[in-house]
C-alpha cells in the first residue's frame, strides 16, 4: 500500500509540471481570477514582452475593489478608479478573457463569484492577485494569493514556480455551541496560533465542527487563513461540496459530473496521513469572538474585558498593545460590551454570502438600528443580492434602518467612497483590523454577521445570543 497522503500532497502531485534543478517546481494553475487593482501592470508587462495569455478560458475577471456601492447607473465618478476598471475591461477584450462588468448581475467580489459560478472546483489549483484567494480552499482546491509579477507569470504560462510548503492540520473537535459561527472559529484559530503562526504552511482544517459547517461557513474559515499567515487553507471535499457545485454555470456537465465527483472525493486526506504540525481546538469552548486591537490576532470573547498591557511580560508585545489600545481609543479592563460603535459594515469576501445576510437579518428583524449608528449591508455579489431580495431580507434590513447597497469589496478595504472617518468605530464582518484599513484613523472590530447586526441594534458591541 502506498504512503497515506494529505489533500495538499495529492493536489501538489497532480499539478507538478516539472522539477527544476534548483529544487523549485513548476506547478500548473487550473484557474486564474483577475481583478482591477493587481492586474494592470501584469497586462502591461505582457505587452512590453510581446507575450500572449496562454489560457484565456481558464481566466475569469471582474471589478470589485474599486467600484461604488451606490448609484451604479451613474458609473464611477473617481477618475483613477474608473481608469483602472476601464483598463481591465480593455485588457480582457484584447486577450479574450471573460469579464463580468459592474452592470452584470453575476458581478461581485472575486472570491464570492468563483464558487457561485462553479468556476471553483475541488482538486484545482486557483490563484488570484489577492491574499483572500485562500477562500476557495473550502472546496478542497489549492488556492492562494499572488503578487502582480506572478499574475503576469500565470497569464503567460498558466504555471507558477513554487517550493512546496509545510502542511499544518488544525483540528476543531466537538460541537459548536448555539449562536457560534464559522467566523468565531477562525478568529479563535488566529488568536491561538497568531498572525505568523501559519507562515510557511498550507493549513488543512479538519474535525467534526468543520465538517458540520455549510460551504459558506467553510469559505469564511478558509478566507482568513492568510490572517494566520498561511497562504492557503484547505478542507477535504465531501458530499456537501458535491451538492453545492451541482448545476452551477461552470460546473462539470451532467455526463461528466459522476466521474468528477468520484475524483473529488478521492482527494480527501487519507487516514493516517502525516502533517508537519497539528493544532487541536475544542469547538465547545468557543463563544462569540471580537477583536480589540489592530491585528487579527487581538481577539477576545465578547464577555471579556479590553486587555491590560501591564499583564503582558514580553516587552515588544507590551509596546504594540499600548500602541494598539491608543489607536483604538480603548481603556484596559473595560468590558467589551460597553464599547459604543458608530458604524456597522456587513459584507466582504469573508462574510458577504447569503447565509451571512440571513444570520444578520434574524437579529435585525422587528428591531431598529440604534440612532447614532450608520449601518450598511453590502452583498458579496449581484446574485447574493438577488437571492436576498427574493427572500425579503432587503426589506427586513431597510425597515430596521440598515442601508442596502450594491455588491463589491466596499468598506473592507475602503478603496471606494465607503470608509470610516478618523476615530470612528466600526463593527465589521471583514477580515482586517489594521490601522487605517477602513479609513485613516478608523477603528475596526472584527466579528460575525450576527454579532455585527447585534452591535447595530444595541449601538455597542453585544453578544448576539442575548438579543
Amino acid at each position: 500500500m502506498s504512503t497515506p497522503k494529505t489533500l495538499y500532497d495529492k493536489i501538489w502531485n497532480d499539478h507538478l509540471v516539472s522539477e527544476n534543478e534548483d529544487g523549485t517546481s513548476i506547478i500548473y494553475i487550473d484557474r486564474h481570477l483577475v481583478h482591477e487593482v493587481t492586474s494592470p501592470q501584469a497586462f502591461e508587462g505582457l505587452k512590453i514582452a510581446n507575450r500572449s495569455v496562454r489560457k484565456p478560458n481558464f481566466t475569469l475577471a471582474t471589478a470589485d475593489h474599486n467600484i461604488p456601492t451606490t448609484n451604479r447607473d451613474e458609473g464611477i465618478s473617481d477618475p483613477e478608479s474608473k481608469l483602472q476598471v476601464d483598463t481591465l475591461e480593455e485588457n480582457c477584450k484584447e486577450h479574450g478573457i471573460t469579464f463580468l462588468s459592474m452592470s452584470d448581475k453575476r458581478q461581485g467580489i472575486v472570491h464570492i463569484i468563483g464558487p457561485e459560478q462553479g468556476f471553483t472546483q475541488p482538486g484545482m489549483t486557483i490563484v488570484c492577485g489577492d491574499s483572500h484567494t485562500s477562500t476557495h480552499g473550502a472546496f478542497g482546491a489549492l488556492a492562494w494569493g499572488i503578487g502582480t509579477s506572478e499574475v503576469e507569470h500565470v497569464l503567460a504560462t498558466q504555471t507558477l514556480v513554487q517550493t512546496k510548503a509545510k502542511n499544518m492540520q488544525i483540528n476543531i473537535q466537538g460541537e459548536l455551541p448555539l449562536g457560534v459561527t464559522a467566523k468565531d472559529i477562525v478568529l479563535k484559530i488566529i488568536q491561538t496560533i497568531g498572525t505568523a503562526g501559519g507562515t510557511g504552511y498550507v493549513i488543512e482544517y479538519t474535525g467534526d465542527a468543520i465538517k458540520s459547517l455549510t460551504m459558506e461557513g467553510r469559505m469564511t474559515v478558509c478566507n482568513m487563513s492568510i490572517e494566520a499567515g498561511a497562504r492557503a487553507g484547505l478542507i477535504s471535499p465531501d458530499e456537501k461540496t458535491i451538492e453545492y457545485l451541482e448545476g452551477r454555470p461552470f460546473s462539470p456537465a451532467e455526463n461528466e459530473y459522476q466521474s468528477a465527483s468520484d475524483y473529488w472525493l478521492s482527494l480527501a486526506s487519507d487516514e493516517g496521513a502525516a502533517y508537519d504540525k497539528t493544532v487541536n481546538i475544542d469547538a465547545s469552548d468557543i463563544i462569540p469572538q471580537v477583536t480589540w486591537g489592530t491585528s487579527p490576532e487581538d481577539v477576545v470573547s465578547i464577555d471579556g474585558l479590553v486587555p491590560n498591557p501591564d499583564d503582558e511580560s514580553d516587552e515588544t508585545k507590551k509596546k504594540s498593545m499600548i500602541r494598539a489600545l491608543e489607536y483604538m481609543g480603548l481603556v484596559p479592563n473595560t468590558p467589551l460590551k460597553e464599547v459604543k460603535v458608530d458604524k456597522v459594515f456587513i459584507g466582504s469576501c469573508t462574510n458577504g454570502r447569503i447565509e451571512d445576510l440571513r444570520a444578520a437579518s434574524k437579529i435585525a428583524k422587528d428591531r431598529k438600528v440604534a440612532d447614532h449608528v450608520n449601518a450598511i449591508i453590502v452583498p458579496g455579489s449581484g446574485l447574493v443580492k438577488q437571492q436576498a431580495e427574493e427572500e425579503g431580507l432587503d426589506k427586513i434590513f431597510i425597515e430596521s434602518g440598515f442601508e442596502w447597497r450594491e455588491p463589491g469589496c466596499s468598506m473592507c478595504l475602503a478603496m471606494n467612497a465607503d470608509k470610516l472617518k478618523p476615530q470612528e468605530r466600526c463593527a465589521s464582518t471583514s477580515n482586517r483590523n489594521f490601522e487605517g484599513r477602513q479609513g485613516r484613523g478608523g477603528r475596526t472590530h472584527l466579528m460575525s454577521p450576527a454579532m455585527a447586526a447585534a452591535a447595530a441594534i444595541n449601538g455597542k458591541l453585544s453578544d448576539c445570543r442575548e438579543i
Binding site: S18, I26, S131, F250, S320
Partner: protein, 208 residues
C-alpha cells in the same frame, strides 16, 4: 530586472512588529496602473499627518536616513494583502534590502520579483543591527557571499545569512522568470495533454 549588486549604505531602523501592507502603502495609492512613482507615499500614514505635512519624528523624515538603501524592522514584516505595490513603493523609495526576523510569505516572495533582498536573521541579531542602525553606521550587504558587515568602534562585525539558492541566483542574475518558464513550454503542453485525459471536465468548462 536589474542585477542585485553589493550595497553600501546606512540603514533605517523601524523597530515595529507586524508591519502590514496597508501601513507600507495605503489603499488610496493602489489605483495606479503603473509600477513606479509610489516611493513618495511609502509608509504614508506614519510619515505624513492629516494635512500631508511630514511628521518629523518618523524615521523616514530624518535627514540622515534620506539615502538609505536598507531597512531593519520587526517580525512578520509585510503581513496582510498580496499587493505588489508594497515592494514597488519600497524599491521606488530606494530601499533594496530589508532585514527582519520573519516576513509574511506573499510579501517575501514579491520582493524577489522586484530585485529586493529580504534577509531573515535571529531576533537577537536583528536587535543588534537595529542599534547599529540607530547610530547611523554604514553597512555592507554582500549577497554573493551572503554576508552583512559593519564597523562599530573600529571593530568589524560580520553576520552571515541563509538564502534559498534559486532565489539568490534570480537576484544576482536579474533573471526573467517568465522567459525561463517559457523555455520549458513543451513540459507545460505535455502536462495539459495528460491532465485533459485524466480530468477532462477541466477542459470542457464553458460559460452557460
Amino acid at each position: 530586472m536589474e542585477k542585485f549588486k553589493k550595497i553600501e549604505s546606512n540603514a533605517i531602523p523601524l523597530p515595529m512588529v507586524n508591519v502590514d501592507t496597508d501601513m507600507i502603502i495605503p489603499k488610496q495609492f493602489l489605483k495606479t496602473i503603473k509600477r513606479t512613482g509610489l516611493g513618495k507615499n511609502l509608509f504614508y500614514e506614519l510619515r505624513y499627518d492629516e494635512k500631508d505635512a511630514p511628521i518629523d519624528s518618523f524615521v523616514l523624515n530624518q535627514d540622515k536616513y534620506k539615502d538609505s538603501q536598507i531597512l531593519i524592522t520587526g517580525k512578520n514584516f509585510g503581513c496582510g494583502s498580496s499587493r505588489e505595490h508594497a515592494p514597488w513603493s519600497i524599491l521606488d523609495y530606494g530601499i533594496k534590502c530589508i532585514i527582519a526576523s520573519s516576513f509574511a510569505d506573499i510579501f517575501y516572495n514579491n520582493c524577489f520579483k522586484n530585485g529586493i533582498l529580504p534577509i531573515k536573521l535571529d531576533e537577537s541579531e536583528v536587535t543588534k543591527l537595529q542599534k547599529a542602525a540607530e547610530n547611523s553606521l554604514s553597512f555592507t550587504i554582500d549577497l554573493e557571499n551572503q554576508k552583512i558587515s559593519y564597523f562599530d568602534k573600529n571593530i568589524n562585525h560580520e553576520v552571515n545569512f541563509e538564502l534559498d539558492k534559486a532565489k539568490k541566483t534570480s537576484l544576482l542574475e536579474g533573471l526573467d522568470d517568465i522567459g525561463l518558464t517559457l523555455a520549458k513550454v513543451n513540459h507545460i503542453s505535455d502536462f495539459e495533454n495528460k491532465q485533459k485525459s485524466r480530468t477532462p471536465w477541466l477542459y470542457s468548462q464553458q460559460i452557460k
